[in-house]
Symmetry: C2
Subunit: 307 residues, 2 copies
């Protein structure tokens, strides 16, 4: 069984969408990645930090989903990272209402000995120096995937570029790819980003799907057209967790297999947005994932009569 | 060989993009549809109108591409419909600089006797009353496809709804689908539009591809990721021409076959945008189309290891 190491936030979120609002609920990139990857038979472990206010039931939830929490530091007297946001009516854009770093401000990640030999490493979205520190602690992983966002490009670009230079795959959204590369065309943007380090570039386009680039090869996975998106929070992390979870499960990091990996990522993300927060991911079954995989096939597979 | 009847504008366009500008060149919905459909072995005929200023070389070009022009009225002393537009830097939006209806203002379409029995009818984007008149002149076609736009929703909605009620397939873009249905979710929008008449709804999302809806079935065709889009003019018409051209060529109007038809539509549209106006479509070869079909396969087809 492959080992998958995940670094990222474990947090409280308070979310408002046109369909309702929540109090503080379970959130954070590592949480979504871990829950998503738990749909595959892999040995996941999270490196993160929370405060003493973090409920035991949330820790239990992660463990119940086969996410090892040895590397999840609980800071005595500390408060857990908190994010609050409000989505606009189209659900494609949102305003951040509040961000309280709390224990995340001084976080020094410690990779547990048991997972320093992880073959797969997922650097979830947080400070590039934390991501770098994790990279320094692992031994010769088979595949490192980086997720990041425009905030780090704006504020810590130099550190971010050091991480980018050391990863195999980067996942960012279309606007971020344009910002990072200075190219409007996503084909050109991906090529420039490959020159920065990653051999594979995944560009997420939200409801418009995701593109996978590698040299002159390209693959596209659509998002499943949904009647209603309820809450997009965590969709990108869930996508990343499905992507690396599938790769870790199959142990195959070929471009062909990455095609299926981003289909699985889209598949899992399509569930995530159906309810608030992690709610839907907590009840998700393998049967449901398999059925939806068939929907993705019907959505994209074709045979012409003119061959 | 199936007969394909096309009604739409045949026009002069003057186009400005970030890459350059043209004088008056050949344009119009029926022109693009006809050139696109000419990639399939079908008997196409255009119903349209031009002025005496329309060059013989353009008429010859249509005939050379197996588009019958018996139904293309040339108005003595009249001037051809003229459209001029300027694209913004992202090429997704444009300003109309000039529209001169000219001979189009009083156009009364006459379907030639030789094509009243056309099995396939493409109602290209123009006034709904012209589209209705063509529908009244054809005998029991096998499939009618309608292309329209927000201009007719804003100005002639009542007439447009009469056309919509009588067609089998409608192709519109995402914003137009939302406007027509009052639904933001494209899944819901498509369902509402099906209730207005069309059994199949094609929603075009430009660089984000196209969706085909029919009852509870859905198919997605991506746009080919291109390094550079040179001029988007006519891409939607070329898409429609490829869609109906493929259906007319195969004679099969099942949902499964429509999947391939929208892949062919996307395929042909991906060529159209590579040069100004109809320039690329004039030199396009079957080999190039087949090669790009392989690119679409590589872009979308996948096999998982977990089945």
């Amino acid at each position: 069984m492959s080992k998958l190491l995940i670094v990222g936030t474990v947090a409280f979120d308070a979310i408002e969408t046109p369909f309702g609002k929540t109090d503080k609920i379970l959130g954070g990139a590592a949480t979504y990645i871990g829950l998503s990857a738990s749909n595959f038979d892999v040995e996941s472990a999270v490196v993160s930090v929370v405060g003493e206010d973090f409920p035991k039931e949330y820790l239990d939830l992660l463990e119940k989903n086969n996410v090892n929490i040895e590397g999840l530091e609980v800071v005595k007297g500390g408060k857990t990272f908190f994010w609050s946001g409000k989505y606009h009516n189209d659900l494609n854009t949102r305003d951040t209402l509040d961000t309280q770093l709390n224990v995340l401000a001084d976080f020094k990640p410690v990779v547990p000995d048991s997972h320093k030999d992880s073959e797969f490493v997922m650097l979830g979205n947080l400070h590039p120096l934390v991501q770098l520190s994790v990279l320094d602690q692992v031994k010769n992983p088979k595949l490192v995937v980086l997720d990041t966002m425009n905030f780090w490009m704006d504020n810590t670009l130099e550190d971010l570029m050091k991480v980018i230079a050391r990863v195999d795959v980067i996942t960012i959204n279309d606007e971020e790819a344009r910002q990072l590369s200075g190219e409007y065309s996503l084909v050109k943007a991906a090529r420039k980003i490959e020159e920065m380090g990653p051999k594979y570039v995944v560009i997420k386009k939200g409801e418009h799907g995701a593109l996978l680039f590698h040299k002159d090869q390209v693959f596209f996975a659509p998002a499943l057209p949904l009647e209603e998106v309820f809450d997009p929070t965590g969709a990108g992390d869930t996508f990343a967790g499905g992507f690396i979870g599938y790769l870790a499960r199959t142990g195959n990091i070929s471009f062909e297999n990455m095609k299926s990996a981003i289909i699985y990522g889209s598949n899992l993300a399509s569930f995530c947005v159906e309810k608030f927060g992690t709610e839907r991911m907590q009840t998700l079954t393998g049967d449901e994932v398999n059925k939806r995989l068939d929907e993705f096939r019907k959505l994209t597979q074709f045979e012409t009569q003119l061959d």
